[in-house]
Symmetry: C2
Subunit: 203 residues, 2 copies
Amino acid sequence: MAATIDSPPARRDRQDSRKRDVLDAAAALFAENGYQGTSMRDIAKGVGMLPGSLYCHFPSKSELLLAVYREGVARIETQVEAAVACQTEPWAKLEALAAAHLEMLLARSAYAKVVVRVVPSDDPAAHDRLVALRERYEAQVRSIVAQLALPAELDRDLLRLFLIGALNWTQVWYRPDGAPPREIARQLVRCLRAGSHQEEASR
Amino acid sequence: MAATIDSPPARRDRQDSRKRDVLDAAAALFAENGYQGTSMRDIAKGVGMLPGSLYCHFPSKSELLLAVYREGVARIETQVEAAVACQTEPWAKLEALAAAHLEMLLARSAYAKVVVRVVPSDDPAAHDRLVALRERYEAQVRSIVAQLALPAELDRDLLRLFLIGALNWTQVWYRPDGAPPREIARQLVRCLRAGSHQEEASR
DNA sequence: TACTTTAGCAAACAATCGTTTGTTATAAAG
DNA sequence: CTTTATAACAAACGATTGTTTGCTAAAGTA
C-alpha cells in the first residue's frame, strides 16, 4: 500500500492539472458572461481544447457549474472564517465577514463571483444542489449574526438577508476606482448597527 | 384634423391590444425564466401566435426586452412617486419608497421583476439603453436619500446602494408566506436609520 | 513486452436558437 | 369597388446549442 503511493500521483497530478484548467476557465467565463451566456465551446476555447474533450473531465455542463459553485462557496467560507477568527467583538466579526466577502466577490475570485451571479434557477437540472450550497454559506453568516446584541423587536433573519443582499448587489455597481471593499464593508456595518446603538454595553 | 380623429382608434386599439398581449407574455416569462432562458417561441406560445408573428410588433428580441424594461421602470416610478407623496418626513418617505418598491417587485408586477432580474449584460445589444433606464429610477431614489439628515461621515451614495441592494435581493429569498413587503420595508429602514439615531432633531 | 487506461482529437448528432421570406386574410382609406 | 396596409400564418433559413461517437496516441501496470 505504501509501496505504490507515489506512482499514481504523477498521473493524477497531470489529469488534475487539466481538470483544474477547465474549472478555472469555466469560472472566469461564468463570472463574466453568466451561465446561459457561456457555451461549452467558449470554455473549450478558453483552455485550448475541443468542445468534446471537456466531457473527459465533467459529464455535463450542469456538473461543471456545480463544481465551480462548490469551489466558490468553499473559498468564500475559508476566507470569511479566517477573517472572523481574528476578531472577538461580535460587530467586529460581522465587519470582518463583510470585508472578506466583498474582497472575494469584487477582486479576488472568479469562483466567488459565480456563486453570486448565477442564480439556481438558471439551471433547473442543478437547482436543488445549488440551493443547498448557497444555504451552507448562509448558515455561516447566521452564526455570526446570532452573536450580535440586538433590540428584541429587530428581526435577526431579516438583518442577515439585508446584509447579504447589500453585499451581493455590489457586484452590479462596484467600480475598482471607487471605494475599496474594506471601506464599503465598514460603512455597511455602520449603517446596520443602527437600532442597537443604545444597547452597546449589553452582552 | 379633428374630423378624422376617431377613425384610426378602432384599428389602433386592436393592434395595440395584441401588442400588449405580447408584452405581458414576455414580461411574465422574462420574470420567471430570465432573458436568456426565454425563447421567442416560448413567448409566441404564451400569446397563441407563431414565432414569426412576434416580429409584426417588435423588430427583435432586444427591442422586446427594452419595451418590457421601459414599462417596468415606469410602473415602479409611478407607484413609488405616489407613495412618497403621501409622506412629509424624510425617513417616512424612504420607508414609503421601500414599501412601494417591494410591493411591485414581490407581488404586483412581472414588469418590475424583470427590471431587477435581468441584468444589462444579459443582452449586450441592449446594454447601454438598459443601464440608462435603470439609472433613471435610481435618480428618483437619490433625490429621496438626499433629503435625509445623516451624520457627515456616512456616505450617501453607499447608503442608497445598500438600500437598493437589500431591496432587490429580496427577490432571491422572498416567500409569500413570510413577512409581507410592508413589514420588510419597515424593518429595513429601521436598520439603516442607524448612525443618524442621535441627530433625529436636526433638519 | 503485452495489456489497460484515458486525455484529447475529429467529426458529427439532433435540437433549439433568433430571424426571414412569401403568402393570405382582413379591414381601413380613397 | 378598388387600393393600400398589415396582422398573422406557414415554412424555412443559417447559426449555435449541449452532447455523442469512434479513434489515436501516450502513459501506467503487470
